[in-house]
Symmetry: C2
Subunit: 271 residues, 2 copies
């Protein structure tokens, strides 16, 4: 089901700046039994991302209403929200006034998650690197060609995810996930100030680690450091936290801490 | 007037990957008396840009037909073409098969060009820098948030264009134009292999310079080098070639070579 500005339609304006320039932001979330996990955090991130682009985010109840319609129709699903700057003419200058446009859509929930947790994920290195752009780093905006190019490097179901480096050769994360390394009982995650998306689950892992007194550092991560980690985790809001079972020649077995991290991340926190 | 896949409509699918990820390319061209200047070059560039993203470009006659409809309605206009990868589901992976979608639209031709040529353009420096991304540099893709952010740095009609630096502090070009410097009778333009768009008119200026035996080098351009140039030119396919009359504290008067470059660029070449 797709709602555009709250109306049931699958069409948007061909002059929308979301299409013309990727001028907008999005969120992908998991709904279970009609409830979107971490909704307040997602809405806060949506607002903060809109703020980075100078887009006025629609009010929270407007989205809550869209989501209610989506989950009534399909209680267990993936919910995707897009906010664009709205319709424009030609040219990069933002016409005044612009009215932001929102798209809310539901998609089938992914399958195979139990097996993902039990067996871990086969992951690969991507050749496509993330660009260096501090002005947009962290924001989940609609300029995602880098992720598309990286995801085109493989097909089939052998690999769940690909890891991407930045222009300096440091690891930023997966094409659709944030990265954590377990090293001697502590966590490490790469900074997201020059490339990549700062996901809601990344924030939550950092908070959980603090709460349970597991050291967690934000540090540059080389590919060698990933290969040497005791365990590698990937996080996003659709699948939560999962672990990497293989990457190039390296194999991992599930660490004792992994189940605990996954469980804590699954606990509802702010809603 | 807007055509989506040749049909007169101003709506596209809300699931189009052009919206979701900026997964597509575009062209902006000038039509005069029903003829799009440099159409064959534009079509070649469209195909080559599509190729960089792994999108199959629609055939030339398909676009020619769209354009014929647009210019019949409005013979003097700006024509914009978009090719997206087409509709997708959720996720970066490209579904197989995908059917590219094309949007063709006409917009009013810009005014004030004679005065732009006579008086030159007031130009400013942008704070927003272009990201470093060799995998996408040169391509006129739909991921244009950097340009949008830069163009948001000013409003009003005082400045025609803003110049953007790359992450290393070198000048790449304007938010919507390529840059040339005139230095002791020769031209210099920045490389477009790490950021920026390699415009059709940039290629043409390089060719014209070769033809009339004006040296033209592709070299890194610092802001200081711009300020010290004998003349600064900007080029795009809507306005051709124009000259910069002011940038920060620097003022220029029109150089004798400027009229000649503008005239040569206006000559129809390949159609």
């Amino acid at each position: 089901m797709i709602l555009v500005d709250g109306k049931r339609t699958n069409r948007i304006s061909a002059l929308d700046r979301g299409l013309a320039y990727g001028d907008g932001v999005f969120r992908t979330m998991r709904a279970e039994r009609g409830v979107v996990a971490c909704w307040r955090r997602h809405y806060q991130k949506l607002c903060s991302d809109c703020g980075r682009l100078g887009i006025e985010a629609p009010a929270e109840p407007v989205f809550a209403h869209d989501i209610a319609i989506l989950v009534e129709n399909r209680p267990d699903c993936v919910v995707k929200l897009i906010v664009t700057r709205g319709e424009g003419g030609r040219g990069y200058a933002v016409p005044q006034p612009t009215v932001p446009v929102r798209v809310a859509a539901s998609f089938p929930a992914p399958s195979g998650e139990t097996s993902l947790f039990r067996c871990g994920a086969a992951v690969r290195w991507c050749i496509t690197r993330l660009g260096t752009q501090p002005a947009l780093a962290g924001v989940k905006h609609l300029n995602r060609l880098e992720n598309v190019l990286a995801r085109q490097e493989w097909s089939g179901s052998e690999f769940v995810e690909g890891l991407m480096l930045d222009q300096d050769g440091n690891v930023v994360g997966g094409t659709m996930s944030n990265l954590f390394l377990l090293e001697r009982g502590g966590l490490v995650t790469p900074p997201i100030d020059r490339a990549g998306v700062a996901g809601v689950q990344r924030d939550r892992v950092l908070e959980i680690a603090r709460r349970i007194a597991v050291p967690c550092d934000i540090e540059a991560v080389t590919p060698e450091r990933v290969m040497a980690a005791d365990q590698v985790y990937l996080t996003n809001s659709v699948r939560g936290l999962w672990w990497v079972s293989s990457l190039a020649v390296r194999r991992w077995r599930r660490n004792d801490l992994t189940a605990e991290f996954a469980r804590l991340l699954r606990q509802a926190d702010d809603d």
